[in-house]
């Protein structure tokens, strides 16, 4: 069976500074992997490199998404192939209603996959269903994307997008940042609803707290651009007690 995501010895730099130093990781369908690590370990870099953000240079290694060379695809193609990045800080687009954005994104992906575009009534119906499921106020759909949204609303909106686009691989970049505990529960609940046998997730987080709600199958520790330890969900609890100091020393 092909792994959903295979990262082999990945090296990448930003502005001439090497951030990822031979990172390897395999995510199979249905699995949730948590990546934890101290500040500056390369967690966000990993998510941007996977998603194809301009300015990140790959200097070594390879990544396969469903057996296909990820770096051979442009960022929008990666999205159409099922890669979704839930942003740590979702961007605001003034004047573009959330629903308009959802339609543009979904139909862009469908066109790229050679599928027919979803008609407006069908889309409306789907979005309404999903909003209801995720506890999203339909009023949010009319508001310009993320403009004036609270931290919780922004993250819920990311979850809604994820639910609508039905990606194969979700990368959640510090989804817990900027959320109070109640908002965190709502978002985590949304993410949990999206767990599926065909879908894999990488949950990037600084704190163990999020993993109380999104329970991972595997936990990795990322330090100095490499995976330095891998374990079960208990590893996260252990880290909570010991901190990252041991790994930072090791990496240096």
């Amino acid at each position: 069976m092909t792994a959903l995501l295979e990262i082999r010895d990945l090296k990448a730099e930003v502005a001439g500074r090497q951030i990822l130093n031979g990172l390897s990781l395999t995510v199979n369908k249905g699995e949730i992997h948590a990546i934890m690590g101290p500040n500056g370990a390369g967690k966000s870099t990993l998510s941007y490199v996977l998603a194809g953000k301009p300015g990140y240079e790959i200097t070594g290694g390879e990544v396969l998404l469903n057996g296909e060379d990820l770096f051979a695809m442009a960022a929008d193609e990666r999205a159409a192939k099922g890669l979704f990045l839930a942003f740590q800080y979702p961007l605001e687009i003034p004047g573009v209603a959330t629903l308009t954005f959802l339609r543009a994104a979904l139909n862009a992906q469908r066109r790229k996959r050679g599928e027919e575009e979803l008609s407006s009534p069908d889309l409306m119906k789907r979005v309404r269903e999903l909003s209801k499921k995720l506890g999203i106020d339909p009023d949010m759909l009319r508001r310009p994307l993320n403009v004036g949204f609270s931290g919780g609303e922004k993250k819920r909106n990311e979850t809604l997008q994820m639910a609508l686009l039905e990606p194969l691989l979700c990368v959640l970049d510090e989804t817990d940042s900027g959320l109070d505990i109640d908002a965190l529960k709502v978002v985590a609940n949304g993410v949990n609803q999206l767990r599926a046998p065909e879908r894999g997730m990488i949950v990037i987080t600084h704190y163990q707290r999020l993993l109380d709600y999104i329970v991972p199958d595997v936990v990795h520790v990322l330090a100095a651009g490499r995976i330095v330890e891998t374990g079960g969900k208990d590893l996260a609890l252990q880290l909570e007690a010991t901190g990252y100091a041991q790994y930072q020393g090791e990496a240096a």
């Binding site: 194809g52 003034p94 308009t100 954005f101 992906q109």
Partner: protein, 493 residues
């Protein structure tokens, strides 16, 4: 809006490299010789069977024009125009008098089809009858300089609305035309308007009588087709007391290497309690990637809120032309009258835009609102130039102005030149202005969701201009949205 969707697809199918509407229709032209002289002015007037006073009016304008200097204060650069090297009149040759739309040259109809004119309007041109009660648009089609087809004449006539080529109106309603022509934009107004007054070929005339709400949107498609032909449209719209009319103007032009001069004049007159809404989507050929060719668009548009409680609203989407020099303005003469200007001006490649508005507050308690959205990409320069003034007797004048500029890339420029003059102490003018760059992070966010770089720019820009798009009638808004995306193709990456 299935029809609109089909139109969009049609536009998409038109496959001409950069400029999507670049093609030439093969219709034999009836042309005046090159150059400008009193004889040419006489030739034009004669061609139109105009009354003697009209010829005199033109000649006076021509003589005046000879004494004037081409203005150079706008932030645009272009090679000197040789006015003797242009044709001033061209009409598609008619085989015979047109009795119905079926007799319109099929070549011309084909052109409209290529332009992606909404099917509904194509149907109108083809004479298809739609069920009663449906919202309709009457089209006065201007092909080059002469109107070749006017639809819905009868229904409009029943309502008492006059909507016809101005050349025809000069023959059928000479007194009406004489009363209003040049009353908003005098023949001596400015270099280009004066030139237009001398040589204007055709355009639309609209008169909505007292108390009548025009039963449909009036729409005109302009198209420059003849090589090196200056296009001098003249439009005159009058809404009498308590009348209402909405007028749509849209234009595209074929791809050319030579520069084409376009100097139109539009005059609007709104009497007591009347309202005129004038919407434009302008997409003249902007020149090629090196900045060669493209239309020079020197337009004088002005509305006169002549009566109390009258209202004039300009909405424009400007995407084309190599040079745009255009300031649709309102004279707020009547008490409690109001003027609006909503504008989207997009420049890409080597385009130069100098556009804005003038709101002249003369009456008491007049108000005006200006919302301008400028988008510059490529190596273009985009200037908003506006004047808001309150006369010393204009008690309680109010203005709100919002000028937003969006920059795409690092080789373009956005400029804002607002003038304000308040001679009455009770005037309240507000001005807001922003300039921003399209954010790489926002684009990446969109691309991560599956949009291509260009789709992402289109989406962000459409959001930026939303306040103005909303002012457009539905059919136009959808077309305009598409056009905005087309205009910005190749502006990133």
């Amino acid at each position: 809006m299935a029809a609109v969707q089909e139109t969009i697809e049609q536009v998409r199918r038109i496959d001409v490299e950069q400029y999507k509407y670049g093609f030439v229709t093969d219709v034999e032209s009836d042309k005046a010789p090159k150059g400008l002289s009193e004889d040419i002015v006489r030739f034009i007037s004669q061609k139109k069977n105009e009354p003697e006073w009209m010829l005199e009016w033109r000649l006076e304008a021509y003589r005046r024009w000879l004494t004037m200097r081409e203005p150079d204060w706008a932030r645009v650069n272009y090679p000197k125009i040789d006015y003797q090297d242009l044709y001033y009149y061209a009409a598609p040759k008619k085989k015979k008098e047109l009795a119905s739309l079926d007799e319109v040259d099929p070549e011309i109809l084909k052109t409209y089809e290529k332009l992606g004119i909404p099917l509904r309007e194509q149907e109108l041109l083809a004479g298809v009858v739609r069920p009663e009660g449906e919202r309709r648009i009457a089209v006065d089609a201007v092909f080059d300089s002469v109107s070749v087809a006017t639809t819905f004449q009868k229904e409009l006539k029943d309502a008492g609305v006059i909507f016809m080529p101005i050349s025809e109106a000069l023959r059928e309603y000479p007194e009406l035309v004489r009363k209003y022509l040049g009353s908003v934009v005098p023949a001596s107004d400015n270099y280009f308007a004066t030139l237009n007054s001398a040589v204007f070929s055709d355009g639309s005339f609209v008169y909505v009588p007292e108390g009548v709400r025009c039963p449909m949107e009036l729409s005109t498609y302009f198209r420059i087709n003849e090589k090196n032909t200056g296009q001098f449209e003249r439009t005159l719209i009058i809404a009498d007391k308590g009348a209402y009319v909405s007028y749509l103007e849209g234009c595209t032009a074929p791809q050319r290497d030579e520069n084409q001069l376009h100097a139109a004049v539009v005059e609007l007159v709104a009497m007591d309690d009347a309202e005129i809404k004038y919407s434009t989507v302008q997409n003249w050929y902007p020149g090629n990637a090196e900045g060669v060719g493209g239309i020079y668009n020197f337009v004088t548009k002005r509305g006169d809120c002549r009566g109390d409680n009258s209202k004039i609203s300009w909405t424009q989407v400007e995407t084309g032309s190599a040079i745009t020099w255009k300031y649709p303005s309102c004279i707020l003469r009547g008490d409690n009258s109001s003027g609006e200007f909503y504008s989207i001006a997009i420049s890409n490649g080597h385009q130069q835009v100098d556009s804005g508005t003038k709101m002249i507050h003369l009456g008491k308690n007049t108000s005006s609102r200006i919302v301008s959205k400028g988008i510059s990409a490529g190596r273009s320069q985009n200037t908003y130039r506006g004047l808001v003034s309150a006369h010393r007797k204009a008690k309680g004048a109010r203005n709100f102005t919002a000028c937003d500029s969006l920059l795409i890339g690092d080789q373009c420029g956005a400029h804002t030149v607002p003038y304000m003059e308040a001679k009455n102490p009770t005037a309240v003018f507000e001005h807001e202005a922003t300039t921003s760059k399209i954010s790489e992070d926002v684009l990446f966010y969109c691309v991560q969701r599956g949009l291509s770089q260009e789709e992402a720019v289109g989406l962000v820009v459409n959001g930026f201009v939303k306040d103005v798009l909303q002012q457009l009638p539905m059919e136009f808004a959808v077309e305009a949205q598409k056009l905005i995306s087309i205009s910005l193709e190749g502006s990133v990456g």
